[in-house]
Symmetry: C2
Subunit: 235 residues, 2 copies
Amino acid sequence: MNGEEMDQDAAGLAPRDLLSQQIALRLRTMIATDALKPGERLRERTLAERLDVSRTPFREALKILESDGLVTLLPNRGAVVTVLSARDVQEKLDVLSVIEGFAGHQACLNASEQEIAEIRAQHHEMLAAYERRDRQTYFNINQAIHAAIVAAAHNRTLENVFRQINRQLFRYRYQGSVNTDIWHTAIDEHDRIIQMLSARDGENLSDLLRAHVSSTWRKIDWDALSLSRNTATPP
Amino acid sequence: MNGEEMDQDAAGLAPRDLLSQQIALRLRTMIATDALKPGERLRERTLAERLDVSRTPFREALKILESDGLVTLLPNRGAVVTVLSARDVQEKLDVLSVIEGFAGHQACLNASEQEIAEIRAQHHEMLAAYERRDRQTYFNINQAIHAAIVAAAHNRTLENVFRQINRQLFRYRYQGSVNTDIWHTAIDEHDRIIQMLSARDGENLSDLLRAHVSSTWRKIDWDALSLSRNTATPP
DNA sequence: TCATCACAAATGGTATACCAAAAATCGGAG
DNA sequence: CTCCGATTTTTGGTATACCATTTGTGATGA
């Protein structure tokens, strides 16, 4: 009857998205940047007021973050930034390495030459940051490269799973406290990754990425993060 | 200071969980059982009333389902049961096969003998259902076996990702309209899967599971589902 | 006859109010 | 001084009311 059965995503001009989703986004960045620390309670009234929104969309945002695994909802006891044990991080890295490995494989099949060229360009920018020992931009470009490889696989579901797990780990990888040796090794691995991608060697790229992501485990500064122990700010 | 930093999950006696989560569960089953068809609108007032809840927790449930990928939220235009194109299903199956492949690999490392024995038992029950040509219980046991293998990997994140994608595909696999030949092949694959699991041969099990899940693609009765075309009930 | 504009009805989005459960505090008894 | 318990206060959960946006419908004019 009515002819409004159009594409769910691309609906002409974009209406600004839901307030709850905007709030979820803001909270995500607050968690990623450690403005909200693991174990810290998210008091609805106070936080909602600070963000200048009402409690209703704020609580909806909490439900979203709970699905994301970023906060934990204790029934009748409120929301808490999810605390990950060392084992949790290990498990998530295991899954992430498999996801990225598959992404590399698929990227070799589905990526356009232009996409690969763009990733190569980012790689060179990353090398520049490495030479300058600029840890911050190195980290950012590094993240962008991994995301770009996953995007180049042209699989939305894969991308979603990657984003979700990556977000959960973000805070734990952010601290760029890698020593120079490990750093150099990572650069080396990236070099080979880019080569395999350019050659569209899916099998080898897959293996390389899996190993590369898995090795992140050893780069994490466990002491600095005090994992599996609650680090909420005491009032 | 305060000694209430206990395990997030196991908190003594269970307080019944959030109403929003209960609603999400009910909606999930409604979607899985086709009580709500892809493309169908979820009108807040009417549905919330039918479920005998207020709009507030109902809307929170919608946000959860949106994160799950089961419904799509059109800003200012309400919620719709997500409709998957044939390509979407293909992509999700690709990811699922990788997930299950890795699960098999990890299960060989981490599963207890008891867990494997239980899976073997389920396998035999499934064979019984096959002999009786009882599609319904065959399907259920089949699902249970796959879930059990993933659970045996002892990786919560892996389990969550599996559940999430599996739920999105559930409706599209439910129609047990496999012809007898394909069915027999599936049984054969399961036989080998059980063997490899019992032998804890991770590499081969991984490959078998990947192939087995991927082949689901060919089992889907596309015509019956009319994919990539909206099938909402016309009012 | 068809398109278009305006108006009306319905639907979704947000804020507020109210209720229940849990934690903190304070007081009393041992 | 400490432990237990009642009371208060805070916080989370749910329902309802109100506002904005959208959509369906009917009238008007080309």
